[in-house]
Amino acid sequence: MRRIVLVSILAAALVVPVFATGQTEAADDSIHVALSAPITGDWSEYGVNFQRSVEMAIEAINADGGVLGGRTFRLSVGDTKGNPQESATLAQKWTSDDSIVAQIGAFSSSSSMAAQPIYDAAGMVQLSPTASHADYAKGSPWSFGIVGTQAGEGPFNAAFAYDDLDLRKIAVLHLNNDWGIDTAKYFSEAFESEGGEIVGTEFYFDGESDFTAVLTKLKDSDADGLFIASFYNDGAGINIQRDRLDWDVTVLGPTSLYSPQLISLGGDSVEGLYTATGFFAEDPDPRLRAYVEGFTEKYGDPPNFHAALAYDAMFLLADAIERAGSTDREAIRDALAETSDFPGLAGSITFTERGDANKGYSKLTIADGRFIPYE
């Protein structure tokens, strides 16, 4: 008896969905796109925000009359669990479905790269909002990333320091991992080619909390600026300890410092710090306000940088389809590759030959305990 119950339940579990999935096929001329994101698992917060943002973007595009003379979008969402293998399986699922024209995702670089050979072989656009691995976009002509790389951000920060802040001698302090090494390297190279001088470079390890030794060393270097390649938590600690050492110097850092946490942890010590961001949630731009307020109203929390990138990815894809004039997978790729100065909410997007984005950033400073745009 038990065995019969069990077998019938298992059989039902395997068969029922076959009928259930049959209904989702729409017979209209809507354009079918796919999203791969970690809806469950360790990165579910990001994945769920991806889904929310892309759904909001589709709603907005469809309400606005769609593309190609009134064709609307519909979305299929797949859960990668943050597991590269699941992401590759999804890629196979999406590329096997002839109605799907392009895919947005995945979240992590490794999930995107595991799926890459499949999109490449099938010839379908893989547009990742967040994958930033140096080998990702250049791995296939079908792969695109819009988050921007340190190779693009370094020169921007260097120009900010040299031209706007009039700094000539900079000391660099960086986190010693692949990200921190790259960030410091690209900034330093660009700053030196602007004509500035790097007077000292020091590093610290992830998890270290005492920066006084390296700060003392850098203080003696006669620098007029300090560049910190850190995330907001270390950034706050470095500034508190710099303050205690009475080192009065202009501090600037990359977009990773942009978080309200920097101010709540760093307090007075981060006043006057300069940084940049691709996505400034308090920007008065009406399109950005509509997105931030719509998102906050619907889901309770304001969107972050990653969510905004997913929103941009969907708009960018719609724009590419409109420019391609068709929903042919290859035509979409070609149009996407030609993207230049696309006005994304999280920074403008211009694709390099490799398929990663040169981004535009907004300059910020901290005054009275708040981030404000640098004028």
């Binding site: 339940i9 399986t89 590329t95 595991a114």
Partner: protein
């Protein structure tokens, strides 16, 4: 069910022929690349689950780190082919051997102790493996992973989706076949004797420690081979694929299918790979179905679907111990 089993027993050649024809025709019946990929992944898990079954089901040991050996195999093969320019067919057995060497070392260090220590050690080893892969940047490329693992070729023919499917079917069939032969050999009987009663086995002259290390190593070799195939199938390896969660997924498949049988692991892999794919349309709720199916099996058939002795079963009673 029993009649089916009798039929299979009485007509082994016919059964083998039917299964072979079915497996050979399957990609054409499925027709869709996505289904063929899912079938291929089932094949990878059949190897992993069957090999873990040697440890858990046959010998009664408990390993929580099978994914580590899977990962070692994958990385060995990926590194040998991308960095040293080896051929896939050479890297495949070497990946198995390297995973086996690590298995032997872990086994030698812990198998003299009580079973629970092996569980802890393997759990730790799984985490250590992942962390070493992530941090040894000059050797494993760390968080970057290894991309561009070459596609296997055979006599000038480059593998496509179907090629991978047939290769994994052959590998899985070999694995299951070898495990079947070992199970029914003197070694297999020694392992079962250890599972049922270590003291009794020892008093009968079975070298308990030696056989345990042998069984553990044997299982790790197959995990390494599965890893090598996976690396060339996915063509990108990173530490994310071999986290402890992966070990737990494999154990779950052993438990669901039923420990200690040959067919159970195949059933477990089949159901637990296909089920989450079928329920994709439920998005974040598909995990619930996965859990429900597990609970149902535990409640209704604690020995697993085809198990001789389940992990969820109460301590064995003499009546249940032997079927025949």
């Amino acid at each position: 069910m029993n009649t089916l089993r009798d039929l299979i027993r009485s007509r082994p050649i016919v059964t083998a022929a039917v299964v072979t024809v079915f497996l050979a025709a399957l990609p054409f019946l499925l027709g869709n690349n996505y289904y063929v990929r899912v079938a291929t992944i089932v094949g990878i898990y059949v190897i992993l689950v069957s090999s873990l079954n040697i440890i858990i089901g046959f010998t009664g040991m408990f390993s929580l780190g099978h994914a580590a050996f899977y990962g070692i195999g994958a990385y060995t093969s990926a590194m040998l082919t991308t960095m040293a320019g080896w051929n896939f067919w050479l890297a495949l057995p070497v990946a198995g051997i390297v995973a086996g060497i690590f298995g032997t070392l872990i086994g030698l260090a812990t198998l003299r102790l009580r079973a629970v220590f092996l569980a802890f050690t393997t759990l730790g080893f799984g985490e250590i493996t992942r962390i070493v892969i992530l941090n040894w940047r000059s050797f494993t490329r760390g968080p970057m992973g290894i991309a561009g693992v070459p596609i296997p070729t055979l006599f000038g023919w480059t593998f496509d989706r179907y090629g991978y499917y047939y290769l994994v079917v052959v590998l899985a069939a070999l694995t299951v076949g070898i495990i079947y032969r070992v199970y029914h050999s003197r070694v297999g009987r020694a392992l079962v004797a250890i599972r049922e009663d270590e003291t009794a086995a020892r008093s009968m002259g079975v070298n308990v420690f030696g056989y345990k290390v042998l069984a553990f190593t044997f299982a790790c070799v197959f995990a390494g081979i599965a890893g090598s195939f996976f690396a060339h199938f996915q063509r990108f390896v990173s530490a994310d694929s071999f986290a402890n969660l992966e070990s737990f997924a494999i154990i779950t498949m052993v438990a669901l299918g039923g420990t200690g049988s040959i067919f159970g692991p195949i059933l477990g892999a089949l159901i637990l790979v296909i089920l989450p794919e079928v329920f994709r349309f439920l998005a974040q709720y598909r995990g619930v179905i996965y859990g429900l199916v597990l609970i149902l099996v535990i409640v209704l058939k604690p020995g697993g679907l085809a198990g001789v002795k389940g992990i969820f079963e109460k301590p064995k009673t003499p009546k249940r111990r032997k079927r025949r």
